[in-house]
Amino acid sequence: MTGGVRRKNPILKTRQPTLPPALRSRVALGMTAGAAVGRLDLQQCEQCGTVQYPAREVCRSCLSGQLVWRPQDGLGTLLSETVSRASMELYFRERLPWRVGLVQLAAGPTVVAYVHAACAAAPADVRVEVALDRAGQAVLVAMPLDAAVTLAEDPRLHDMTCDPTHRKILVTDGKSEVGQAMVRAFAAAGASQVWVGHAEPWKQPPGFAALAELPQVTLVPLDVTDGQSVTELAGVIGGKVDIVVNTADHHRTYGIAGRRGVETAQAEMEVNYLGLLRLAQAFGPALRGRAADGDAGAVAWVNILSIFALANFPPHGTYSAAQAAALSLAQCLRAEMRPAGIRVVNVFPGPVDEPWNQLVLPPKIAPKGLADAVVKALKATVEDVYPDPVARDWLERWRADPKTLERELMAASPSSAG
């Protein structure tokens, strides 16, 4: 252990995690899709344009059944507010008092929202944002118009974020360019401890030796393809890790016909899918158990996936399949971590500028850009990160119609990932 990590008082009971109320109607869950990427969506009527809130089944104005979720600017007026000093739910009682208010949106509806400490007293101009609370549900927050104010600056709302500052982080593979960038980004973001996993100690890639010199960094042996290696490390540091960042990745550039045998595909599955499973089995319970452990308990699990998880990119066909498997497992992990309030953040970069994407045309996201996007996501309250233009382009096409995207990708060559 490095200095500066506060030791836990062994006499005190470890607090159990509590969550804000998670119950929502199915239609209200629609706000989550935008919230997952940090975007405020409200229902709007396709017939008459009326913006609705709370979520409805039919338009409050013309009664049409065609309500669609559309991005909103959230501008409005804080009409009235209160400081709630009593609550019926444990989560809120442990964190009293809460500032909440009624905001009339310029778009029409009046919304109940948390009110950021930096907002002026009602009546005041505010901008309503959406956030994911500790239960992973979308909630509205009234923010001051000054866009520089962050959620984390309000001590109550800070709890919704997974700010890496003063936290202890495991980066599962610190040798790849992405892994190295991730370690540097967390060190720069104020992490108190970064454990850096490295398999095959005889391999010393450029930059890795310098990484080990960072004061926050401790190198730890970790091979995600080896169950014993994962279990052993979890036995040593599992009870201390606040954020797991799984950077372990095995990426080859084959489809089906380009290579005989299944060894490459097996290796991709061993790292990207089974590696995640091994990590989740070994570290998941420890994180869940420490979700309420003091001011900086366990908060998040980050999976660096690939946009190829959404739809198969035939030139990287077996890799896409392994990513799809990893995404599916990450959804399971999210469900299992949710009762503790641990946020599972899935990151879907487009092609990263690293050797196995040599033949992919730009734009490609630099490892540092990817790492910075991860830190930014943890400081906010998002759970799905599409950090670059290619990823966002794929996402838009996939959301619009997965079948069309499949046909487009059939024509893809290694140089047409976007």
Binding site: P21, S25, S80, V83, M88, W98, T110, V112, V139
Partner: protein, 388 residues
């Protein structure tokens, strides 16, 4: 709009209260059943003498009113279930009166009651409505205190009401409650104690909040001839109104549906605000009392604070109001809170109060308000009861 027909010789009688308890292990069926037993006892009718039943309860589930008919083994030709909280008493009275008037029923028992186990209030608040579950409860789970704090803060800012104004009403209600045997609060309240009580959701203080409890209320609706045959003291139903979701475009609530219907109410009853001898408002949170003073025409919108300052509200005061102490001092027995004012108003105009009597009370105005479905109370209603 055509004016509604009057209520002819429909009368209200047999006010019944099943004593309130802070917590009880008994279910809603117990309280509702005891209310019916109380109505039979008060009227001398056998079970078979009641052919209509109107039920309000938050905690009857999974049963509805029909389940209660088998639970109590009553055979009926008319049945209704009014899930409208603080407006349920007025709405039940209107429904029952029309049923009797039209001959669909001869004697309708209107009852409201709720259980209150130690965790009941949290459970019912968490799932109070779809909008509340989706868009209110997740923001601090403060319950109605927070919703009314928004309205109270807005009203204070807009119309200059002060904590002292709200406190004056709470102190007067407590003073009235000291004479009422079923009030759960039995010690005097001073303005200083009110002002010193802790903040729950600014500007709502502890003594602005009603205390959830278990209990029931009930009354009978029948023709005057039937009441006279039974030898029951009764009040005439002179007029009644209801309104739901009245001003959907108001961004925040500062008025209720009474504004739209009060002229019809007074016209139907043939009396005006000056003829009202005693007022029973729905009082979960004092700001709603002031809103009712304004919206029922006792003063203009925004003049509520001045009205409070120049009147006194005790029995014997210049404006006798919530004469049994209201929910603020008696307790809020769930849906029975929407019946409390009718039962007390009935007792006042029949000279049968359990507590302090307003001398010569001939006209009682009873008002109901209910259902914070999302950001505002949706239901409002009022009725005027006249002495025989």
């Amino acid at each position: 709009m055509t004016a509604a027909a009057g209520y002819d010789d429909v009368v209200v009688t047999a006010p019944v209260t099943v004593p309130y308890q802070r917590y009880s292990t008994k279910g809603a069926h117990w309280f509702l059943g005891r209310a019916v037993a109380g109505l039979l006892d008060a009227s001398g009718l056998p079970k078979s003498g009641i052919d209509g039943l109107c039920v309000s309860s938050f905690s009857l589930g999974p049963d509805s009113a029909v389940g209660l008919t088998q639970h109590l083994d009553v055979s009926l030709r008319w049945l209704d279930h009014i899930p409208m909280g603080g407006a349920s008493g007025i709405v039940a009275l209107r429904r029952a009166a029309r049923a009797v008037q039209a001959g669909d029923a001869s004697v309708v028992a209107c009852i409201a009651g709720d259980a209150n186990r130690v965790d009941s209030f949290r459970e019912s608040t968490a799932r109070f409505s779809l909008f509340s579950q989706d868009a209110v409860y997740p923001y601090g789970a403060g319950g109605p205190n927070v919703s009314f704090a928004f309205l109270t803060a807005y009203y204070m800012r807009t119309y200059g009401a002060t904590a002292e104004d709200f406190g004056k009403l709470c102190v007067a209600q407590r003073s009235n409650a000291l004479h009422y045997p079923h009030a759960l609060f039995t010690t005097p309240l001073t303005l200083d104690a009110y002002l010193a009580s802790r903040m729950i959701a600014d500007p709502i203080r502890l003594f602005d909040c009603v205390m959830p409890c278990a209990g029931a209320e009930g009354f009978l609706v029948m023709r005057r001839a039937e009441a006279e045959r039974l030898g029951l003291p009764y009040a005439r139903l002179l007029g009644a109104i209801e309104r739901h979701n009245p001003f959907p475009d108001d961004p925040i609530q500062y008025r209720g549906g009474w504004v739209l219907d009060r002229d019809a109410l007074y016209a139907q009853a043939g009396v005006g605000p000056r003829d009202i001898d005693v007022l029973q408002t729905y009082d979960d949170y004092p700001v709603i009392n002031i809103m009712q003073f304004e919206d029922l025409g006792f003063c203009d919108k925004g003049e509520g604070p001045g009205f409070v300052r120049r009147n006194s509200f005790e029995v014997g005061g210049s404006f006798p109001f919530n004469t049994c102490g209201g929910q603020l001092s008696v307790g809020q027995a769930g849906a029975a809170g929407g019946f409390l004012g009718i039962v007390e108003g009935l007792r006042q105009v029949t000279g049968a109060t359990l507590g302090a009597q307003v001398d010569g009370a001939r006209h009682a105005l009873v008002s109901g308000f209910g259902m914070i479905n999302y950001d505002r109370g949706l239901c409002s209603g009022a009725a005027i009861l006249g002495a025989a």
